[in-house]
C-alpha cells in the first residue's frame, strides 16, 4: 500500500522536474535563478515521516543527478537529498504544532534549501570540484533562501493538499 502510494508520487516529481529543466531554467533572474524542484522536494519531505523523507530525497536526488546541467558525479545529489529529506522530516516528526504551522514550514524550507546547496558545494569540493567567487556563492545561497521564502507559501496549499490526499491514511495508520 505504502509502496503504491509512493509510486503515485513519481509522476508529480517527474512533472516538477520537467518544469524545472524546461521552463524555470529559461529565466535568468536574481541570484542565478530559482530551484523550484529543490524547494518542492524539501517541502514535500517536511510533511512526511523520516523514512518517507529519505525515499523522497532519493528519488528527487536521482532525477537531479540525471539533469544534463549537473556536472557532479552521478549519485552526489542523491546522497545529499536522502540526508536532506530525512533531516527535514525528522525535525518536525510527531510534532503537530510544528507541522501545522505554515510559518515554521516556510522557515525550515528556507533554511534547508541553501543548507542543502552548501552541503552539495562542500562535497563537490571534496570530490575535486571548483567553487568560484566566495561572494557570488554567498549571494547565490542567500537568494535561494529568499526565493524559498517567496515560493513556499505559494506552493504550500497545493503540496499539503496533494500530500494529505496521498499519505494521510498512511500516517494515521
Amino acid at each position: 500500500m505504502f509502496a503504491r502510494k509512493l509510486l503515485a508520487t513519481f509522476p508529480i516529481f517527474l512533472f516538477m522536474f520537467v518544469l524545472q529543466e524546461a521552463v524555470i531554467s529559461q529565466f535568468k533572474i536574481f541570484g542565478g535563478g530559482i530551484s523550484l524542484f529543490l524547494i518542492f522536494t524539501l517541502l514535500w519531505a517536511a510533511l512526511g515521516s523520516p523514512e518517507l523523507g529519505a525515499v523522497t530525497g532519493f528519488g528527487a536526488g536521482l532525477l537531479m543527478d540525471l539533469s544534463q546541467t549537473t556536472s557532479s558525479p552521478m549519485g552526489q545529489w542523491t546522497l545529499i537529498m536522502i540526508l536532506a529529506g530525512f533531516a527535514i522530516s525528522y525535525l518536525g516528526y510527531g510534532d503537530d504544532n510544528f507541522r501545522g504551522n505554515p510559518i515554521s514550514l516556510v522557515v525550515i524550507v528556507a533554511v534547508a534549501v541553501p543548507l542543502t546547496r552548501l552541503v552539495y558545494l562542500v562535497i563537490g569540493l571534496m570530490l575535486g570540484g571548483e567553487m568560484g567567487s566566495v561572494l557570488q556563492t554567498f549571494l547565490s545561497l542567500l537568494s535561494s533562501a529568499l526565493w524559498s521564502i517567496a515560493i513556499v507559501p505559494l506552493l504550500m496549499p497545493v503540496v499539503t493538499r496533494v500530500h494529505g490526499a496521498l499519505f494521510e491514511e498512511q500516517s494515521r495508520g
Binding site: 531554467s25 535568468k28 532519493f58 549537473t70 552521478m74 563537490g124 556563492t137
Partner: protein
C-alpha cells in the same frame, strides 16, 4: 513493535545511502551506463526545453532586462530609446530580431577569422541548484558538434562544448569556476591562464613578468593543440584591474568578459579552425574618435589711417 519500525527505517536509510555511494563510485570509475542514463534523460527532456524556449524566452529576456535596470544611467537611456523603437513591433518579432542580430555578429566574427562554424540557439540557461555555469544549445553530434569545441558569440568566447548529445550539447561557460583557458595579451603577446570566477569577470595569471599589463589590454584565446578545445585568436575580454603586488612572481589581472551571458540566445560552435592563426585580427575596434572641427582665422592688419 516500535523498535522494529525504527530498525526498518534505519535499514532503509542505510540502504539508500549505500546505493547513492555505489552510484558515485560507478560514475567516478567511468562506467558508461551512468553517462548513458544522463544522455537518455537529456534526449527525453530536450524537446520540452526547445518548446519552452520558444514560448518563455521572450518572458525570460524581459526578466533579465528588469534585473539589469539601474546599472548605469546610460544603459537605462539606451534601453528606453530601444524600447521606444521596438514598442510597435510584435513580441515574437522582437525575439527573432535579437537572435538575428546575435547570429549576424557571430558570423561576422567567424568570417573575419575564417572559422567554420555551426550556429545554434540557446535552449536552456543551466543549473540553478549546483554552482556550475552552463548552457544547452540545440546543435549536437548530428550537426558536427563534438566535445571540446570552442563556442563563440558575436562578442567573443562563450565557452567550450562539454558534452555533445545527438541533437543538443552542453556548453561550459567561460564564467564557470572550473573553466580554464590559455590566453595571450593582444599586442605584447604575453601568455597566461584565464580562470572563470562564477561572475562576468575572470582572473588572468600571466606566466612571466616581462611586460607590465595595463587596464584596457585585450585578452585573446591562445589556442590549443589541434585547435581543440580552443581555436586561437578568439577575443575573451579586457583587463579592468591589475594586481601588481610587490614581490609577486607573476602578474594577475581581473578581466571583464566580452559576452553578456544573461542575454545569450544565439551562439556558434567552431567546427573547423582556420589554416592560419588570425593573431590579433579579432581584437574589437575601439570607438572612432569624434573629429573636432578647427577654424583658422587669419588676421591681416589694415594700414593705420593717416591723420
Amino acid at each position: 513493535m516500535r523498535n522494529g519500525g525504527d530498525n526498518r527505517g534505519r535499514l532503509l536509510l542505510i540502504s539508500l545511502i549505500v546505493t547513492s555511494l555505489f552510484l558515485i563510485t560507478l560514475d567516478l570509475r567511468g562506467v558508461s551506463v551512468i553517462s548513458g542514463l544522463r544522455s537518455g534523460s537529456q534526449s527525453a527532456i530536450s524537446p520540452f526545453q526547445s518548446f519552452a524556449a520558444t514560448i518563455f524566452r521572450p518572458v525570460g529576456n524581459f526578466f533579465t532586462d528588469v534585473t539589469h535596470l539601474g546599472r548605469t544611467r546610460s544603459e537605462i537611456e539606451s534601453l528606453k530609446e530601444a524600447n521606444e523603437k521596438l514598442r510597435n513591433s510584435l513580441i515574437t518579432r522582437q525575439n527573432a530580431d535579437a537572435e538575428l542580430k546575435q547570429l549576424k555578429s557571430v558570423l561576422d566574427l567567424a568570417g573575419t577569422a575564417q572559422y567554420k562554424v555551426v550556429s545554434a540557439r540557446v535552449i536552456s540557461l543551466g543549473s540553478t541548484s549546483s554552482f556550475t555555469q552552463t548552457i544547452s544549445i540545440d546543435a549536437g553530434v548530428n550537426m558536427g558538434v563534438r566535445q571540446n569545441m570552442t563556442v563563440i558569440s558575436g562578442l567573443g568566447l562563450v565557452g567550450v562544448v562539454k558534452i555533445s548529445y545527438p541533437n543538443h550539447a552542453l556548453v561550459q561557460l567561460t564564467t564557470d569556476p572550473a573553466f580554464r583557458v590559455g590566453a595571450r595579451v593582444a599586442g605584447s603577446q604575453q601568455i597566461g591562464i584565464l580562470s572563470g570566477q562564477g561572475t562576468n569577470k575572470a582572473v588572468l595569471q600571466l606566466l612571466d613578468n616581462q611586460t607590465a599589463l595595463k587596464v584596457g589590454d585585450v585578452i585573446l584565446a591562445r589556442g590549443s593543440q589541434n585547435n581543440r578545445p580552443f581555436v586561437p585568436g578568439v577575443p575573451i575580454g579586457a583587463v579592468t584591474s591589475v594586481d601588481n603586488a610587490a614581490g609577486a612572481i607573476t602578474q594577475t589581472a581581473d578581466v571583464k568578459l566580452y559576452p553578456n551571458f544573461s542575454t545569450l540566445s544565439v551562439v556558434a560552435v567552431v567546427v573547423g579552425a582556420p589554416k592560419t592563426d588570425p593573431r590579433d585580427a579579432l581584437v574589437p575596434k575601439g570607438p572612432a574618435p569624434t573629429p573636432v572641427p578647427t577654424v583658422t582665422i587669419y588676421a591681416i592688419p589694415s594700414e593705420s589711417p593717416t591723420p
